[in-house]
Amino acid sequence: MPINIDKALGIFPQALTLRARRAEIIAANMANADTPNYKARDIDFKGALKQAADRAGSHDVTLRRTDARHLAVGGDAMSEAVKYRIPHQSSLDGNTVDAETEQAEFTRNAVQYQATLTFLNGRIRGLMTAIRGD
């Protein structure tokens, strides 16, 4: 039976990619903390991960977009999962970034990223043990 490396690594590669994207979005929120009319965003991690896992499991074909004007066909996990954050308090300039919330979420995401890395490392080590056999 051939070893399927993708299967051996489980959900973690997709989770890692999503965590990286989430870090990017939160970083953008923090960078735009003083931009008028900027609306803070975040991703629905659970939904996005489920979607990514479904996509990895099935062999459905998606279309590659090569131009900014192309529309997403069938949608991709990220763009559908990006949502606007509901602000605790509205501000006069229309900005909905709450720096403390973003900081907390960023830190949480960083720790979870590291956790995912650890899990992934464990899987890789398992594979290495299987390959070396010692």
Binding site: E24, A27, D34, P36, A110, L117, I124
Partner: protein, 136 residues
């Protein structure tokens, strides 16, 4: 790899905030730069930030761009000081419309935002380095 975009985003935030700090410094430095007429007096400057939504589809994270620097159009203060070398015919000098309290608050806000971006950059760097060591 798209994760490197985070550096770009945090970097744009840092450059925007440092520009804001520079402008605040300029405003504070010129708070006492009096002038003999209404036109020549220094007016407080403020940066205008805007989010840049470039890329397409899932590239939904946004950089910051400084759209421009605008002058505050609050009225300048006139002060009656006939002995001043720059005083006009009526004996008035014109003070910049720099509000010290506002500028100090602006400075603190800018420095906090800058620190936030530095923190994001540092954390991301550590995470990416850990990713590079994956499987070792």
């Amino acid at each position: 790899m798209s994760s490197f975009r985070i550096f770009e985003i945090a970097g744009s935030g840092m450059s925007a905030q440092s520009l804001r700090l520079n402008i605040t410094a300029s405003n504070l430095a010129n708070a006492e730069s009096v002038s003999g007429n209404d036109k020549g007096v220094y007016r407080a400057r403020e940066p205008v930030f805007s989010a840049v939504m470039d890329g397409f589809g899932d590239e939904s994270a946004a950089n910051v761009r400084v759209l421009g620097v605008v002058e505050n159009n609050a009225p300048v203060q006139m002060r009656y000081e006939p002995g001043h070398p720059l005083a006009d015919a009526q004996g008035y000098i014109y003070m910049p419309n720099v509000n010290m309290v506002e500028q100090m608050a602006n400075m603190i806000s800018a420095s906090r935002s800058y620190q936030n971006n530095v923190e994001v950059l540092n954390t991301s760097k550590q995470l990416l380095l850990a990713t590079l060591r994956l499987g070792q």
